[in-house]
Amino acid sequence: GGGHGGTKIGIDHPRADSDFWNSYIKYVPQMADELKIDLMPATNSQNDVAKLVNNVQALIGQGAKVIIMAPQDTGAVANTLQQLENKKVPVVTVDTRPDKGKVYMVVRADNRAYGTKACEFLGEKLGGKGKVVQLQGALSSINGRDRSEAFLTCMKTKFPGITVFSEPTEWEGSKAASMLQTRLEQNPDIKGIYMHAGGVHLAPTLQVLKQKGLLVPAGDPKHIAVVSNDGIPQEYAAIRKGDIDATVSQPADLYAKYALFYAKAAADGKTFKPGPTDHGSTIIKLPNGLEDQLPAPLVTKDNVDDKGLWGNQAG
């Protein structure tokens, strides 16, 4: 590849049906402009690894020299990564860490950390006892599983007095609403909720709480502490209103920015080493490459108006 903007960079988007990923998709061309990158038309694999593989083949066929992807199924891309390695095409993955196959850089916030942060926040709010509901994503997604396992492990070790109900919602608002409603009927003394995805879980949760008369400000004995995950503007609005208590901001802007940054670096033949970076994150070493772990702040009423949060910039 050449040493400047002429190198073709191919990018595949993982899905178009969640607010987080849509923000990411919107940031990509913006950031590409800033970094003066010649980006090929993006493909979208719609959460289907088979499509991802087809898309990557097409991008390579069209002359891509670096690939950015976000495989939602981290195992099934192994072959594709192998093929790309054989063709000497460096790969930057966003959000997920492939189990096998060489990657140039993984750009990712730590999903286990999301679960742990949510657990710690809820555990302290509840004083270490009571019942909480976890609205899980899809169990077949690594991020859902990481959040779920980290949340459960943290609860078990740090707050053994708390009972957790886990509801597999498949990232569906309808399932989330039904399961939460049923669980609240069964256990009216539930005091906390952790939602894996604000984009799909926020509105249904608020609607169920409202119907049950449980949508009351913090401090009221009927208040249920709610922690969300994503960091979309609607979550911030809900935090400001007092409807929910916190959210983990998944940095959509940084995902886009650093995915492109590392792709360009790869095209330019740069190399990186584990250790702290100049943008407040740390690069760690993986068996199959490197990972830049971007910061994912917990947003509460105290810092919800921080201009640095991507959700406050999205329009």
Partner: protein, 325 residues
């Protein structure tokens, strides 16, 4: 809903799932004390209200011997387009600035229009209903994804939230609406000329035509009605969830068919009743509720769920006595 004063065994075929429902009630009560409370059962009804309207629509379409897969996409797209016609550009709308009170009529209109397009392709152009509505399922969903660019619509006019969240006489409005529409549907298919025509058309369209039934007109009507019901289901679901996500309704159609078919509606047309379809919806709703209550591992839930559908099917087969199609 079949009209009969004399008791004939055939008339009981609508009710073959009643023992399954009783069994589920008993098992559920045994497994969890919350199950048989009024609150929980009301929740089950509310959770099934929207999907039950799709089952009602699909049952009518199946009885008329046709097929509609696209209903599930209408559930999201119809209310979303109506909402986007009203909300400002900043909230993701088209900026047409129509008044908020129009949102429900607009959504129903979009649903009816989708039904009419299905009708056009299937009846007028005589294309295969399965594949037309499969393509429409994809296209209609694209008309939700395209304009929203995949984003959830959070800022909704109040009026579209009302029906899905209000309580009337202590019961969710959605339950009243679904109940009334089922009663109306059952009545229509049992006692109205137009309703009986569905059975005739589904049973033998040539004979129906020869008997003076305006087959095409009735089929158009049933597709348009189906789309409208799906839009109404979307309105109820929007009210229940408080937002229109990008996959509202996605994946429902399998459950809709499962409910209709275990409820005794034939995929071959001409057979089945609205009451039977309703029992199918209830079975599915109760199974889901029990599985949630007892907290079966999410990983194994599908196995149990599918197995229960099969058992319900066998029971209705044994009770019904005849081979199914």
């Amino acid at each position: 809903m079949a009209p009969a004063l004399r008791v004939r065994p055939a008339r009981f075929r609508d009710l073959t799932l009643v023992p399954v429902i009783v069994l589920l009630l008993v098992v559920g009560a045994f497994l969890d004390p919350t199950f048989l409370t009024a609150g929980n059962l009301t929740n089950v009804l509310q959770q099934q209200a929207a999907i039950s309207l799709l089952v009602l629509a699909e049952a009518m379409i199946l009885i008329a011997g046709k097929f509609d897969l696209s209903l599930e996409s209408t559930v999201g797209t119809a209310p979303a387009i109506a909402v986007m016609l009203i909300i400002p550009v900043s909230a993701g709308g088209f900026g047409t600035g129509l008044p908020g009170t129009l949102v429900i009529p607009l959504a129903l209109l979009v649903g009816a229009a989708i039904g009419a397009i299905n009708g056009l392709l299937i009846i007028r152009f005589q294309l295969s209903a399965f594949i037309v509505t499969l393509a429409m399922l994809i296209v209609v969903h694209g008309f939700l994804q395209g304009p929203t660019e995949g984003k959830t619509l959070f800022q909704l006019p109040e009026s579209i939230l009302y029906l899905g969240s209000a309580l009337w006489l202590g019961l969710p409005a959605a339950v009243w609406i679904a109940g009334l529409l089922f009663a109306a549907g059952g009545f229509a298919l049992g006692y109205l000329r137009g309703g009986r025509a569905l059975y005739a058309i589904g049973g033998n369209a040539d004979a129906a035509r020869a008997a003076g039934i305006r087959v095409d007109r009735v089929l158009w009507a049933v597709f348009i009605l189906g789309g409208t019901l799906a839009a109404l289901a979307g309105i109820l679901e929007t009210g229940r969830l408080g937002a229109i996500g990008n996959n509202q309704g996605v994946g429902w159609i399998f459950m809709v068919f499962a409910a209709a078919v275990i409820g005794g509606v034939s995929m071959d047309g001409g057979k089945g009743t609205i009451l039977g379809a309703l029992t199918g919806v209830l079975v599915i709703g109760l199974v889901q509720n029990i599985l949630t209550l007892i907290g079966v591992s999410g990983f194994w839930q599908p196995v149990i769920y599918g197995a229960i559908i099969l058992i319900a099917l066998m029971i209705s087969r044994i009770a019904g006595g005849k081979a199914q199609d």
